[in-house]
């Protein structure tokens, strides 16, 4: 019974309230860092981590925050976790940091994280917040992976840097403008499937 609620929360984050395809939040990174599958995936992982830790922290201290100052406190918690993740990765995992360093600092400004803090974590207990963060983060990871897979195959003819074909069929797809096409098209397809089959 209880575990059903949690799986429901995770499903909700991935499908019903997918940050990018359904809520249309954090579209900036979905365009800026999705020009290769590796970039999109790493960004998704970084967001997953920050989303979960921020959700947990906020649900833990939500009773000690005056509603009038909740937004600055949320911002502090988000930037705090991002800074901690950034510093500890640079110190303890310099190799991984070389790959992820570019992305982690960007997360401070993500609307999706602030939105979940405000809509969910500030009103719920720790465990549901944890699973909501997991669901939302996985949904973001899922959306970014699909977009970046789409863009990399079309724009660069490769998957994860491995060449499938030796040409660049649609170079525009890995340029910034291609991001708009990719996000728009995939969002349309996603919602078409959703209404057509009334699933997801």
């Amino acid at each position: 019974m209880i575990s059903k609620i949690y799986t429901e929360l995770i499903k909700n984050g991935i499908f019903k309230e997918n940050t990018i395809f359904k809520l249309a939040l954090s579209l900036c990174p979905s365009i800026a860092v999705t020009n290769s599958l590796r970039n999109g995936f790493l960004m998704g992982v970084a967001v997953l981590f920050v989303q979960v830790t921020v959700n947990i922290t906020i649900s833990l201290i939500r009773n000690y925050i005056n509603p009038a100052i909740r937004l600055p406190v949320f911002m502090l918690i988000i930037s705090g976790w991002v800074t901690i993740a950034d510093l500890s990765m640079a110190a303890f995992a310099p190799e991984a940091y070389k790959q992820m360093g570019l992305y982690i600092q960007l997360i401070v400004a993500f609307a999706s994280i602030l939105a979940r803090a405000e809509m969910f974590a500030s009103k719920n207990n720790v465990l549901p917040s944890l699973f909501d963060g997991l669901g939302m983060g996985l949904g973001f990871l899922f959306a970014l992976s699909i977009i970046s897979f789409f863009r990399e195959t079309l724009g660069n003819g490769s998957v994860l840097g491995l060449k499938l074909i030796n040409t660049k069929p649609l170079l525009i797809m890995i340029l910034p403008a291609g991001g708009f096409f990719a996000v728009g098209l995939l969002m349309g397809i996603y919602n078409w499937i959703n209404t057509r089959f009334n699933k997801l």
Binding site: N39, Y64, V73, L76, I84, A91, I174
Partner: protein, 194 residues
């Protein structure tokens, strides 16, 4: 009477909220300060270590690499090193910066005694992921090997003689080739001549 009570209540609220915010921010600040104090020495060590590794990788045949001096480019301090083998200078390594598309690109180049490039590596950059960051890829950096300053020119079509720019990242390619590497080697040339 009622009005003054309301004002008092208001003041109390403001004070409470301010105190609340202050406490949370102090706690947050302390946590971050603690993490920073624990990690920053490690981060510094990692940086020094990775620079040493990078230097060694650039001229693996050298048995000692010593700092010879420093120079300035884009108002940044950069070092150059001379590499010796059995007490004899076999080449130089110079650090340089190029102004890229979205920030500075830090480059390390090694040259032999004839000022031809032996090896090159990008130490740090903030170029666009997926486009500008192709400057760190082998196929781009390989082009530099055994080029001299006269051939450090970026062109857009296929070339063996010059440096072919990465499609979609001409500014980043030019920053590495002409801004960073070329000026560094020209500086070395002038320095060693005089």
């Amino acid at each position: 009477m009622q009005k003054s009570e309301m004002i008092l209540q208001n003041m109390r609220d403001i004070l409470k909220i301010t105190l609340n915010l202050l406490i949370i921010y102090i706690i947050g600040g302390l946590i971050i300060a603690f993490v920073y104090s624990k990690t920053s020495p490690l981060i510094y060590k990692n940086k020094v270590e990775s620079k040493k590794m990078a230097l060694r990788k650039l001229l693996p045949e050298a048995d000692s690499i010593e700092k010879t001096g420093s120079w300035k480019i884009h108002d940044k301090e950069a070092d150059y090193y001379s590499a010796k083998k059995d007490g004899e200078i076999i080449g130089y390594i110079i650090e340089s910066y190029g102004k890229g598309y979205s920030g500075y690109i830090e480059v390390l180049v090694s040259v032999d005694k004839e000022m031809k490039i032996k090896n090159i590596s990008i130490l740090s950059h903030t170029e666009t992921p997926g486009l500008g960051d192709e400057i760190t890829k082998d196929y781009f950096l390989k082009q530099f090997i055994s080029k001299d300053t006269n051939h450090l020119i970026t062109v857009k079509n296929t070339t063996d003689e010059y440096i072919q720019a990465i499609s979609g990242a001409t500014i980043s390619s030019r920053a590495v080739t002409e801004d960073a590497v070329k000026s560094a080697i020209e500086f070395l040339k002038n320095k060693l001549k005089g």
